[in-house]
């Protein structure tokens, strides 16, 4: 079975976005790199956009998650209430368990 990577995180898992700076087309915003959050849901598996952007097929497909972040953890000077959140879609290869060494 090589058409999709195995899904390794579940809803509710605490994760951290990897800090990496690959050259090319990347769908992980800079402002989320290194930030910790919680998996809100698993969206399914999709061809890797980092490969699709260059005419390749992007397979095996990569699991995609919606990750929820607290705004206060994204922006130290965030002005709104501490309960405000942000959710974004992050591919599995950009995530690690929150307690793993960076």
């Amino acid at each position: 079975m090589t058409d999709a990577h195995t899904v390794t995180f579940r809803a509710g898992d605490r994760v951290r976005v990897r800090v990496a700076h690959p050259i090319g087309h990347v769908r992980t915003p800079y402002y989320l790199r290194g930030k910790g959050g919680v998996v809100e849901r698993i969206c399914g598996s999709f061809p890797n956009p980092e490969e699709l952007a260059y005419g390749r097929n992007g397979l095996p497909a990569r699991p995609l998650y919606r990750v929820r972040f607290l705004q206060r953890e994204l922006w130290p000077d965030y002005a709104g209430p501490p309960t405000d959140v942000l959710e974004a879609e992050i591919y599995q290869h950009w995530l690690q368990p929150e307690d793993a060494p960076p």
């Binding site: 769908r27 992980t28 915003p29 402002y31 969206c43 399914g44 999709f46 956009p49 995609l64 919606r66 705004q71 994204l74 922006w75 002005a79 709104g80 209430p81 309960t83 405000d84 959140v85 942000l86 959710e87 974004a88 879609e89 992050i90 591919y91």
Partner: protein, 206 residues
Amino acid sequence: MSGDHTHGAHDVRADHDDSLTYYQAMEIAVRELLIEKGVLTAGDVRRQIETMDARGPQVGAIMVARAWVDAAFKQRMLEDGSAAARELGLQIGPLKLIVVENTPDVHNVVVCTLCSCYPRALLGLPPDWYKSRSYRSRTVREPRAVLAEFGTVIPDGTRICVHDSTADMRYLVLPRRPEHTEHLDESGLAKLVTRDSMIGVSVIET
């Protein structure tokens, strides 16, 4: 009055479209090549533009109004937005839709920081401000200030959830049904639903 009209005596406002950007020139070149080689016709291009222009917020409003009158449909829509759209016979193509519900406890707003991802099948083309660097960068950073500029003041007791549409999903906000609309049927309700309320930068007022 003289017939030889000249512009020497007064200033002329410059046209905004008298020079092409790189990508405008690229689009024309590719389109003309495709037509010249018989891959498609100018009519095909126009018809596709007409199809795209026919999509608009009135399509998304159909989903919202149904969810307001049918709790079971709303539940299915929140679980699988794409399936719910197809259930209503809406043509959404490969759209992977997530619907997020506004409640007294949470207000949702959608942005795409990386480009301009938008549920076009349901809302049509995105407004220019949605694609602006200002909206894209500020909505994730200071959503309450951005919403206030739309005239939308969210009380501190309501959590704001910003959805950064970074990858394969597209988002539709299910706005709250306005009060005093009990007398309206589904099509009457649909007329109340605005584009901005489905992006989440406004609420529906009555």
